[in-house]
């Protein structure tokens, strides 16, 4: 077991070395919840000084990893110390939230696992939450949510086994390209579940426009 002072910022926040800023932010929030003064879960476990020390290190980790230049310098330091392998650090344009790792485990329900993994991210992302307050959802709205999560359409197609042409049709609001309303509803439900959204809510709000 490593002592606090020996943990890297990534280990402290319990994120991968290539975690996106969004993931770092989420992890910081969770850790802060764990260690802050009024945390019930850690009540009595630490002395006041220990708690202050942990929170200071968390703040340092957060401010370093959220700043592109500082993070790059820190990663370089880890590479020099042999803690981080070159090429494993975060690169801004790299696709981040791969669903395929969830699809690789046979014998378990992939869709449910992905939904469970994405749900907390969806519920804490302000952009997604704002979109989800709308009574009606468009293809563009769904695409925005998908982009926020950093998931590619190809990944969704692979997991839900729906052809790309229909997924594009959903995001481009080209309903006529889907076989029928029943099929469209099914595709929408699968798409929504795959990105951690409530299938019924998304399908109903999207299909409202076709009623109109």
């Amino acid at each position: 077991m490593k002592r606090l002072e020996d943990l890297s910022f990534y280990e402290l926040l319990e994120v991968e070395c290539d975690a996106s800023p969004f993931e770092v932010h989420q992890a910081y929030k969770e850790m802060h919840q764990l260690y802050h003064d009024d945390s019930l879960a850690s009540y009595s476990f630490f002395s006041r000084e220990e708690r202050e020390e942990i929170l200071a290190k968390l703040d340092e980790a957060y401010s370093t990893l959220m700043d592109e230049r500082n993070r790059s310098r820190y990663d370089q330091l880890l590479i020099e110390r042999g803690i981080l392998e070159k090429g494993m650090q975060y690169q801004r344009d790299r696709k981040k939230l791969s669903l395929m790792s969830d699809a690789k485990h046979p014998g378990t329900n992939t869709a449910l696992r992905i939904r469970d993994r994405l749900k907390p991210i969806v519920s804490s992302n302000p952009v997604i939450q704002e979109i989800l307050t709308q009574d009606v959802l468009s293809g563009e709205d769904l695409k925005k949510i998908r982009d926020e999560l950093g998931i590619s359409l190809e990944e969704i197609a692979e997991i839900v086994k729906v052809r790309m042409v229909y997924l594009h049709a959903i995001e481009d609001d080209q309903f006529e390209k889907t076989p029928s309303r029943i099929f469209l509803k099914g595709f929408l439900r699968a798409y929504a579940q795959c990105i951690g959204l409530d299938a019924d809510i998304v399908a109903n709000r999207y299909l409202k426009r076709i009623h109109d």
């Binding site: 606090l4 019930l40 879960a41 850690s42 476990f45 002395s47």
Partner: protein
């Protein structure tokens, strides 16, 4: 003596001490109701009231005046522990009561404790649940350390959480004490306390770190033992306004800062009818079989037995 679970036929232990640092967290309620659910599923289940000083599992289970008790075995009134087993009206459910224990039994001598633990390990049941007393007495801690398994119960209140951390740390220190010779243990604690005065009460991990420096082989051995513990945590009496993640966070803290793995196996919802069931000496899970708390208890069983969620919910 090694673990009393060492003869378990499969990976999951079948002897589960159930304890919590504080009284009133629902240890006896959980023990009796989990036992009933297991028995109803066809598992031969024995409940042992190991709360030696203040036993009352018999009352919760609806047996006000048991005629024989654990102490009859410890005091050699009967030759074997099996003779103290009482058959319950529920098929497959059995009880070793503590109702007639002598008042000074809570200070059980080491030999008697070992005799009892050895006898328990020889009993032939699918599951044996030990309802332990509150606090951090050696009696309670030894049941955990000698089983290498156990279920910690706490409620989402600072007092209960404070006590559960104290109990977990006590188990940690006690295990080191059991592995080392007494003189080595004393010398180790003296050295650790010279560096950090809270080493024994708050930072038992210092003891292990120090031991690993002095005697890497022995230190690694203890580290392996601590990691191999099959400890579980249940958060009981969780109300709607409580943070449902607290249990998992407690386990995270313990793993991250003590290096001990504890698996969180579920929240059990607060239900006012528990009080009524206890007062009427009725089984809660049978009377309120469709309540949220009963469903929660079934999911807790999933964590104890390794059942799938579908199997657990169908109990």
């Amino acid at each position: 003596m090694n673990s009393i679970n060492q003869y378990s036929s499969d990976f999951m232990p079948h002897i589960w001490p159930i304890g919590g640092g504080k009284g009133g967290t629902g240890k006896s309620f959980l023990t009796s109701n989990i036992g009933i659910l297991l028995a109803r599923q066809g598992f031969k289940t024995l409940l042992i009231d190991a709360d030696l000083g203040t036993p009352n599992l018999h009352t919760i289970i609806g047996l006000p005046n048991p005629e024989i008790s654990l102490s009859d075995f410890l005091n050699r009134k009967v030759a074997t522990l099996e003779e103290t087993v009482l058959e319950m009206p529920i098929p497959n459910l059995f009880l070793i009561s503590g109702a007639r224990n002598k008042l000074d039994i809570s200070n059980l001598a080491h030999e008697q404790k070992m005799k009892m633990l050895r006898a328990i390990s020889r009993l032939d049941y699918d599951y044996i649940l030990l309802d332990l007393g509150a606090g951090t007495s050696f009696n309670t801690i030894d049941f955990f350390t000698l089983s290498d398994s156990g279920i910690f119960v706490c409620i989402p209140e600072p007092t209960s959480i404070e006590n559960i951390y104290r109990l977990i740390r006590s188990v940690y220190v006690r295990k080191i004490r059991q592995v080392l010779r007494i003189d080595r243990f004393r010398s180790l604690t003296e050295k650790a306390e010279a560096q950090n005065q809270d080493a024994i009460t708050h930072h038992p991990e210092y003891l292990l770190d120090m031991l690993k420096n002095i005697d890497p082989e022995q230190g690694s051995k203890i580290e392996r033992i601590l990691k191999a513990f099959q400890f579980k945590l249940v958060l009981n009496q969780v109300r709607r306004q409580d943070n449902p993640k607290v249990g998992a966070l407690i386990c995270k803290i313990v793993e991250k800062h003590l290096g001990m793995k504890i698996q969180f196996i579920g929240n059990v919802s607060f239900d006012e009818r528990v009080h009524e069931a206890v007062c009427r000496k009725e089984s809660f899970v049978e009377k309120y079989s469709y309540s949220q708390s009963t469903l929660d208890l079934k999911l807790v069983i999933k964590g104890i037995t390794g059942m799938t969620e579908e199997q657990a919910v169908a109990l």
